[in-house]
Symmetry: C2
Subunit: 343 residues, 2 copies
DNA sequence: TGTAAAATCCAAAGCGCTTTGAAAATTTGA
DNA sequence: TCAAATTTTCAAAGCGCTTTGGATTTTACA
C-alpha cells in the first residue's frame, strides 16, 4: 500500500494524506484522524527512500568503523552503539554502520557525504593526529567526535571524558596510599585518549616528586592477554611496582590473572586501579565493584553523543556545546596501602 | 554533481551515463571509459535514495537488536557485526542497526518490511520459542537466523554451531578425566542455544551413568559477575563440583576469579571448560589459550551469515543451504584430571 | 445577506535515478 | 553501392514521496 492507493481509498489527494500523516496544520483534525486510522488499518508505511529523495534528508546517522582499529574498540563499541541506537530510535533516526579497511576510510567518508546516505556521522576512536576531522569539515557534513583530536578542540562538536584529570586523580589516589612505584598499562599511544591519560599520570607523579620511569609504562591493545603478559613482565623486574594503573577493566583482569598466577593478591600485595567504561558484560547492576576505578559509562556516552548530534542536525546552523565529562573515582577491593619495604 | 549534470558535461544522455557506470553492455568501451573518468574527476556519486527508489531494492541489511536482550548479546554482538559488516562492504551492502525495546520488536519488523528499508534481515539470539520467524515468513522478506529456533529448523535460512554435540563432547572430555561432579553454568534457558547445550551436557552424563543434578546447573546472563557468584555458591556446597562447564569465556573468567579468591587453582583443584566464541578482546593472535574450550569464531560466523544472506537476496528464489558448524575442542591449562577423593 | 478571511483541500512539479522502447549511427554482406 | 543487421545513443516514463501555488469550501463579521 502506497500513498497514492491510500489517498484513493480515502477519496483524498496525496497532498492531504501526506500532510495529515506528517502533522501539518493545514488539515482538519477530523480528516487527520480519519487518515491516521486508515493508515494503521492498511499498515501503510511510507517508503523511506521516496521520502528521503523528496526531502533531501535521510534521518540516518552513520558510524564508520575502521577495520584495523576495530579490535581496539570492539568491546566498547557495542555498549556505545546500544546507547546511541536507543536515542536514534527515540528520534526516528536510523543507524548505518560501515566496517571499512582503514586505507579506504577517506574514500568512504567522501562517498557517504556525496551519496547523501547520512545526515550526520559519529567519529570513533580519534587518534592523536586525526585527519578525518579536517576532511569532514571540508565535506560540510555534521559530525560528532567521540573523544577529541589533537590541539584545537573547537571548530567541531565533540564529547569526551576528562582523561587527563581522571588519571591524575587515580595516580594521586595511589600516591596517597603510599605507592611510589606505579606502573601504567595504557592504550596505544597513537590514540588521543591514551596520550591524555599518560599526561595526567605523569603530572601527578611529577607533582609528588616521583620519577617517571618509561620502563614501567606500556601502550598496548586494551585486551586481557596484554594485561596479563605485561604484568608478568613487570613482576620479573628488580624493582617491582606496588601498584598498576590500567586503561581498561579488560587489562585489569589480565593483571589480576597474572598476579594470581604468581601467588600475589590484588589490593594487599599489588594495587590495581583501572579506568572503567562500565561495560555491560562485566558488570551486574547493583554489584559492588571489585576494581578501584575511575568510572564513566560508555553507554551513557553513546546516548549523549546521539542526542548532541541529532540536535545539531536539526538546528543545523547552531552547533551545540561540546561536553567534557568528569569521571567518578570508585574505591573497590583491588587497591590498598603500599606494602612496607621490609614486609 | 548529479547524473543530469554529469551527462550534460559529457554531452551524453543520462541513460548512457547511467549504463556506462553500471556496467551495462549497451555502451561502447570508449564511451564507458570517458564516462568513468569524468565521474571520478567530478567525484560523482549516485544518490543512494534515488537509486533505491528507482530499483526498488535497497542494498541494505538490517539487524534488529532487542534492547532487553541486548545485555545478553552485547559482547558477542560487536565481533559478529564486524564480520558481517566486512562482507557487506565487500558486496556494496549497507548495514542498518535498530536498537528497539523488546515490546516494539514486532512493530519494528513490520515497519522494516513495509518501508522497504532493507533487502534482508538477520535475526539474532533466537529463543527456544521464537515468534519472529513466523512473522518474517509472513512478511515475505529474506532473512537469516543466527542460531536456530525450536523444532522445525527448515523452511528458513539459518547458520548455527552444533551446540548439543559441542557440550556433549566437552562433558565427555571431563568425564574421561575422571570428573563425576560437573557443574553447568549456562546462558538463559529461554535461549535456544542454551537449551541445546543443556541437552548435550545431560546426555553425556546419562550415557556415563552419572546422575543429573539440577542443583549444580544454572542459567544466567553470560557475564563475568555471574560466573563469579555462581562459583562461590558452588564452593559452599557439601558436595563441591570438581569441574565447571560454562557457556562463555566471560563466565569462565568469573569462575576463575572465584576459585582464586578461595585459594583454589584452576586445572588442578577444579577444572574449567568453556565454550569460546573467540571474542577479539579476550584473545591475542598466536597466544596459547588458557581455558580448555569448545571453540568457534563468532566473527567468522558473522562473515558467513552475511555471505549466505546476500547470496539468498541475490538469487531470491533459491534459498542457500543452512549451515551447522562443528566446534573445535581445544585443550588448555584450565582442565586436568579430577583430584582423587582423599586428597 | 454579501464579502473578506480563514480553513481545507488539490493538481502538478519536482527529488535523482533506472529502464523501456525507439531512433540514429555504424557496420556488414551481397 | 544499398539495404539489412548491429551497435550506440536517446527521450520519456516511472519509482513514491513532499511541497508549492492555487482553487474551493467554510466561517466570521458588518
Amino acid at each position: 500500500m502506497n500513498l497514492k492507493q491510500l489517498a484513493q481509498q480515502l477519496g483524498l489527494s496525496q497532498t492531504t494524506v501526506s500532510r495529515a500523516l506528517n502533522g501539518y496544520p493545514e488539515v482538519s483534525e477530523r480528516t487527520r484522524r480519519r487518515v491516521q486510522q486508515a493508515a494503521t488499518e492498511f499498515a501503510y508505511m511510507p517508503s523511506r527512500h521516496a521520502q528521503l529523495l523528496a526531502t533531501g534528508r535521510s534521518r540516518t546517522i552513520g558510524h564508520v568503523v575502521p577495520l584495523l582499529r576495530h579490535s581496539m574498540m570492539t568491546p566498547y563499541f557495542s555498549d556505545f552503539i546500544a546507547g546511541a541506537g536507543e536515542v536514534y530510535a527515540e528520534y526516528g533516526f536510523d543507524m548505518l554502520i560501515s566496517v571499512v579497511p582503514e586505507a579506504e576510510e577517506e574514500t568512504h567518508y567522501r562517498a557517504m557525504a556525496a551519496s547523501n546516505k547520512v545526515d550526520g556521522l559519529i567519529v570513533h576512536a580519534p587518534k592523536a593526529v586525526e585527519s578525518r576531522i579536517g576532511l569532514l569539515q571540508a565535506l560540510e557534513i555534521p559530525f560528532l567526535v567521540h573523544g577529541r583530536a589533537g590541539n584545537p578542540a573547537d571548530g567541531y562538536l565533540w564529547m569526551d571524558i576528562d582523561n587527563k584529570r581522571s588519571f591524575e586523580r587515580a595516580t594521586e589516589f595511589l600516591i596517597d596510599l603510599g605507592h611510589r612505584r606505579i606502573a601504567l598499562l595504557n592504550g596505544l599511544e597513537e590514540m588521543n585518549f591514551a596520550s591524555r591519560r599518560r599526561i595526567g599520570y605523569s603530572e601527578a607523579l611529577q607533582n609528588n616528586d616521583i620519577e617517571i620511569d618509561p620502563s614501567i609504562m606500556f601502550c598496548d591493545d586494551m585486551i586481557e592477554p596484554c594485561g596479563y603478559s605485561r604484568t608478568r613482565q613487570l613482576l620479573e623486574m628488580d624493582e617491582k611496582p606496588t601498584a598498576i594503573l590500567t586503561s581498561s577493566v579488560l587489562l585489569a583482569m589480565g593483571v589480576l590473572r597474572a598476579l594470581t598466577d604468581c601467588g600475589l593478591r590484588a589490593g594487599s600485595d599489588v594495587s590495581i586501579v583501572t579506568h572503567d567504561d562500565q561495560l555491560s558484560f562485566l558488570h551486574k547492576p547493583g554489584e559492588v565493584p571489585f576494581f578501584t576505578s575511575t568510572r564513566s559509562s560508555i553507554n551513557k556516552a553513546g546516548r549523549r553523543c546521539g542526542e548532541l548530534l541529532i540536535s545539531y542536525i536539526k538546528s543545523r546552523e547552531s552547533r551545540p556545546e561540546s561536553e567534557l565529562w568528569e569521571t567518578e573515582l570508585v574505591v573497590g577491593a583491588s587497591s590498598g596501602p603500599a606494602p612496607s619495604r621490609q614486609a
